[in-house]
């Protein structure tokens, strides 16, 4: 066979945007439900959000098969954790586990871009943001995925979080109320959908607070 074939790639990018915002006593985690490949839309209703523990929720974009494998690996590890410790994993613990799990595949990475949101042991909202190979940071808000370049500057502008360089360190959580944060999330997704072809169809919003977890959906542009 002398014909030149396009080289096979084990990766794809299925697009999508993920956002998380931490408040004093709540956390909002959101992602759109579109799954694409190239200019194709594969499905308009695929959840990128996975509840890993009672108080830890992960939103992931990137390569769906890797994302699914990552979610399954984490849930299996969390099951083992529950058997061994008789409790749910805390969000900061899950954050470290996620980092280790990603780094374990450093040389054949999970093509997954994650934000992990939840409540820490004090009940305060927390957001952890990652790259594909596991480096992570605790922040007050974050966005990942195909629309992140549109969303992050918007959030920076609206949330005006204290510089992480300030000493003594200032709390990273946002000053917004829960409803304001949810409205902000809806706005950033409506905006990202305008310009990012990989974001759209519907946004799924998970809200964690002292009274538990609830879900909201908002329709987005379908073109």
């Amino acid at each position: 066979m002398t014909k030149k074939h396009a080289n096979w790639s084990p990766y794809d990018n299925n697009g999508g945007s993920c956002v998380a915002i931490a408040g004093a006593d709540y956390c909002v985690i959101a992602a759109d439900t579109r799954m694409s490949t190239g200019y194709n839309i594969l499905t308009r209703d695929y959840s990128k959000i996975s509840q890993l523990a009672d108080k830890a929720v992960m939103a992931s974009s990137g390569f769906q098969a890797d994302v699914k494998a990552l979610q399954k690996a984490l849930s299996a590890k969390h099951l083992i954790y529950q058997h061994q410790h008789n409790k749910q994993m805390s969000c900061p613990a899950m954050a470290q586990l996620l980092s280790n799990t990603l780094y374990y595949k450093r040389f054949f990475p999970y093509y997954a871009f994650n934000v992990l949101g939840g409540l820490d042991n004090e009940g305060k909202g927390c957001v952890f943001t990652y790259d594909a190979v596991g480096s992570y940071e605790r922040v007050g808000y974050s966005a990942q995925g195909s629309g992140s370049t549109l969303i992050i500057p918007f959030l920076d502008n609206q949330l005006k979080s204290p510089s992480p360089l300030l000493l003594p360190a200032k709390d990273a959580v946002t000053p917004l109320s829960e409803t304001e944060a949810i409205d902000l999330v809806k706005t950033v997704f409506a905006s990202a959908t305008e310009r990012d072809i990989y974001t759209g169809d519907k946004v799924e919003i998970v809200i964690l607070n002292a009274s538990g977890m609830r879900r909201e959906y908002m329709e987005l542009r379908k073109d």
Partner: protein, 273 residues
């Protein structure tokens, strides 16, 4: 201690067709404190008696959650029980990783029995010294199995294992015909009464027993102590409902270790249960 020339390793048959090491392992099950299980069409309840080794120590955990739909109660060597429940947990996790659905209870029980069987056929191994009551729910309904060190397993409507379990068994045998249509509460009540039977006169308190439930719409969980005490109080099981039952168990417990290799002291095949 020396009984005869056929009991020094697991793989040697006695001329009477018995494997003594395996039977000794089954004796270990009888020495452990009692564990009880009973099931209806929709629920399975496990209960066990907690005995501590000394006044100064706490008791060992005898009921383990395997998955949302499966749990076990053990009698015998607790250490072996822990190892086996860890194996069962990992099988459940692996199955649901591959199929995203729960492992059917009966299949797990067969895998467990096969694992126990291997130990009865290898010269460098010893049989597990633990009996397991496996409670679970799957698409074919609620199930209760008993797994034996010999690698045998049986499905039951209700069963009790461990020391002084004969009294509990007698109670269950009297009542098992109603269990299939029992409510969840009635099952728990019967579990508690059966547990009391095996306490032999000791007062039933939440501190000496553990109860766990699995059923339709109810993932396997161990009831907390307050709940159990409340149930004991509401059912008024504390006071003796009827006279303490005769204890035929005592006789067999004594008889077995003096057995000289013949089949004279037991009627049926020794491997049944």
């Amino acid at each position: 201690m020396f009984r005869n020339q056929y009991d020094t390793d697991v793989t040697t048959w006695s001329p009477a067709g018995r494997l003594f090491q395996v039977e000794y392992a089954m004796e270990a099950v009888k020495q452990g404190s009692a564990a009880i299980g009973l099931r209806s069409k929709t629920h399975v309840v496990l209960a066990c008696v907690n005995k501590s080794n000394s006044e100064l120590s706490s008791h060992q955990k005898k009921i383990f959650k395997v998955d949302d739909h499966i749990g076990v109660a053990i009698a015998g060597l607790t250490a072996d029980g822990r190892v086996l429940s860890r194996y069962m947990r990992s099988e459940c996790i692996n199955y649901s990783y591959t199929y995203e659905s729960p492992l059917p209870v009966g299949r797990l029980v067969v895998q467990l029995a096969d694992k126990a069987q291997v130990c009865t056929q290898r010269s460098w191994k010893r049989p597990y010294g633990v009996g397991l009551l496996v409670a679970g729910l799957d698409e074919s309904g609620a199930h209760l199995y008993y797994n034996c060190p010999s690698g045998n397993y049986f499905e039951y409507q209700a069963f009790a294992i461990g020391s002084r379990s004969q009294a509990a068994k007698t109670y269950l045998e009297r009542r098992f015909q109603n269990f299939n249509d029992s409510s969840r509460e009635d099952l728990i009540k019967d579990a508690l009464v059966a547990t009391r039977e095996s306490l032999q006169g000791d007062k039933l308190r939440s501190s000496v027993c553990t109860v766990a439930v699995v059923g339709v719409g109810e993932p396997f969980h161990i009831l907390d102590q307050e709940t159990v005490q409340r149930l004991i109080d509401t059912f008024e099981i504390v006071k003796e409902e009827e006279g303490p039952l005769a204890e035929p168990e005592q006789a067999t417990e004594q008889a077995a270790p003096t057995d000289q290799g013949g089949a004279e002291n037991q009627g049926g095949s020794p491997m049944d249960i």
